[in-house]
Subunit: 136 residues, 2 copies
Amino acid sequence: MLSKKTKYGIKALTFLARQNSRKPVQIATISKSENISVKFLESILLTLKKNGILGSKKGSGGGYYLLKDPKDVPMTLVMRVLEGPIAMVPCVSLNYYEKCDDCPDEGTCAVHRLMIQIRDNSLKVFRNTTLADLAN
Amino acid sequence: MLSKKTKYGIKALTFLARQNSRKPVQIATISKSENISVKFLESILLTLKKNGILGSKKGSGGGYYLLKDPKDVPMTLVMRVLEGPIAMVPCVSLNYYEKCDDCPDEGTCAVHRLMIQIRDNSLKVFRNTTLADLAN
DNA sequence: TAGTATCCTACTAAATCGATAGGATAATTA
DNA sequence: TAATTATCCTATCGATTTAGTAGGATACTA
């Protein structure tokens, strides 16, 4: 299951990408438009900021804004920041590889073989999709 | 993340598929070979049985066995039984569709659009992979 | 009828999820 | 400079899920 954090994060980013200008947008504005709890959204936007996807400005007229052009924000980045590794098991993860302690041989492991295919296909989708594609 | 339940379930099924005969195999045997807690495995095999994938026999010489030829067991079935819906959000699920209460229009929803692609690709993999493929 | 192995229910510790609370900090405006 | 605004940050919390464990009931075999 996709976490609400990721779901809301993607919605918020798309909302920002659909904006005409790149002026800061307040949390409250996004929250209202996308039906997301203000406080929860706040924490999500904060992690997006900490990971270099969003910029922010404090005070009156402040808010969050995209740091890059939507077409330069691949969904691989967004997914990794919000949801974590794209792979369903650590032993097939490109960026967070970890050996399974119960599995003596990855070469003969059925789960490993199956999940590599899933990872490759998901990766293809996320790599080929940018924020611009989602914003339409 | 793939749950251990699903991971162990796939491993157990593959173990059974690799067996020469279709004679019942005891939980303890699979447990030892695949490094899975006996009790946890027990509950997994039970749900696989309840969902028509495995058969069982009680008493001495008993155990679990595949009900169908491995090549007739698609991974879609296994995944749905063990892990649940293949889609990452209910609003793109084929078998367990549910409308998001926060989302006014699926047509313009970025998450919806993205997750349909992921679902389609995962579905393709799971449909085209049978237990026989994993057992080699 | 003793032994074996599945069947079934209930319980639990730990982790994660989806928030919420409340104050600190920084920028703007009057 | 003082008030206002809006992000920043830490901490907490209830509910749910996960990954098991315990222990007895049932059914089959020898």
